[in-house]
């Protein structure tokens, strides 16, 4: 008899399924809301660190060397950019764009994406694990050339990034305080957080729109 009761309560004409869907949407919305607030808190700390470093650099280099007057001097294109991919869930009105960051793209190479830098880093780490077994087999001799090519391309990417970073710092003069370099790193970290915030915001608004529509349909029925 207990089993019958369980069966009847779990599927009363499909309404239980709808409630589960609604609960799932509410949970998704609340999760993204929580993540949004946590990421904003993390962004605040990173920005605070960055402002402190900019203030320290200004103290050591002088206010005239770090001022907005220097910023508009020459034509420059952004080395760090965002990419947007629009995805549509369900109806065309519910677009949920996703954002990605491309850091320090070289203007000569066009879009040398951060993704490529990540791949080269992954290959580097796998090469390091192979080093532990170097000498145990002839197989690794043939991979040496391949490893050298990977090393060369990753060092070219690293040097491109270094060049772009230096170009960004050169607005403030040839010799800059280490604090300014540290500030650059802090604000780069802040950009990573911003991309995550943009994505979670998009997800939160999409979940909210779905919930709103469901509530409207419920009211009409």
């Amino acid at each position: 008899m207990e089993e019958d009761d369980r069966c009847s309560s779990s599927n009363p004409g499909g309404i239980g399924q709808e409630e589960e869907d609604e609960d799932g949407k509410v949970l998704r919305f609340l999760d993204s809301l929580d993540t949004y607030l946590t990421l904003l808190d993390s962004l605040s700390s990173t920005l605070r660190q960055g402002w402190f470093e900019v203030a320290s650099a200004r103290h050591s280099m002088g206010s005239s060397r770090i001022s907005s007057v220097l910023l508009d001097q020459k034509v420059q294109s952004a080395a760090t950019t965002f990419q947007v991919r629009k995805s549509i869930h369900g109806s065309p009105s519910e677009s949920c764009p996703s954002f990605a960051i491309s850091k320090w793209a070289s203007s000569r190479d066009g879009k040398c994406s951060f993704g490529e830098l990540e791949v080269s880093h992954v290959r580097k780490t796998s090469k390091n694990s192979e080093l532990r077994h170097r000498g145990s087999s002839n197989f690794y001799d043939t991979t040496e050339e391949h490893d050298l090519t990977i090393n060369a391309s990753s060092s070219i990417s690293d040097s491109n990034v270094h060049q772009e970073r230096s170009k960004s710092l050169s607005v403030f003069g040839t010799l800059v305080s280490p604090r300014l370099r540290a500030a650059q790193v802090s604000f780069e970290t802040a950009l990573d957080a911003i991309v995550e915030i943009a994505n979670i915001r998009s997800s939160m608004l999409s979940a909210f729109t779905q919930l709103q529509q469901q509530m409207k349909e419920k009211d009409l029925s």
């Binding site: 919305f29 809301l33 949004y36 607030l37 904003l40 808190d41 962004l43 605040s44 920005l47 960055g50 402002w51 900019v54 203030a55 770090i66 001022s67 907005s68 910023l71 508009d72 020459k74 034509v75 420059q76 294109s77 952004a78 080395a79 760090t80 950019t81 965002f82 990419q83 947007v84 629009k86 677009s95 949920c96 764009p97 954002f99 850091k103 320090w104 772009e164 970073r165 960004s168 710092l169 607005v171 300014l180 500030a183 650059q184 802090s186 604000f187 780069e188 802040a190 950009l191 911003i194 915030i197 943009a198 915001r201 998009s202 939160m204 608004l205 909210f208 919930l211 509530m215 009211d219």
Partner: protein
Amino acid sequence: MIADEDTVTGFLLAGVGNVDLRRKTNYLIVDSKTTVKAIEDAFKEFTSREDIAVVLISQYIASMIRFLVDSYNKPVPAILEIPSKDHPYDPAHDSVLSRVRYLFSAESVASGRR
């Protein structure tokens, strides 16, 4: 970006600054002399440009043009309100959170119960 000098300087160090041939920038530095009209014009310009995916605006500046920010509802460019040096982030004033607060208001709970 629509923010104070230090915030814009920092993000420009990170490589997001763009100055085109007509000396038009993708940022506006707001100080005590910047008018609300200038902020509004910059916001309208950045939100209508196709080469901008995210608009970063300090929350205290967004509050100066709150009506404009709250009435913006396109998915791209995304508007992110960020803290500034002198004004920490306040979730109560965030336009995205204001929009979704409706779900937790007494009215929505009461209508659900009916």
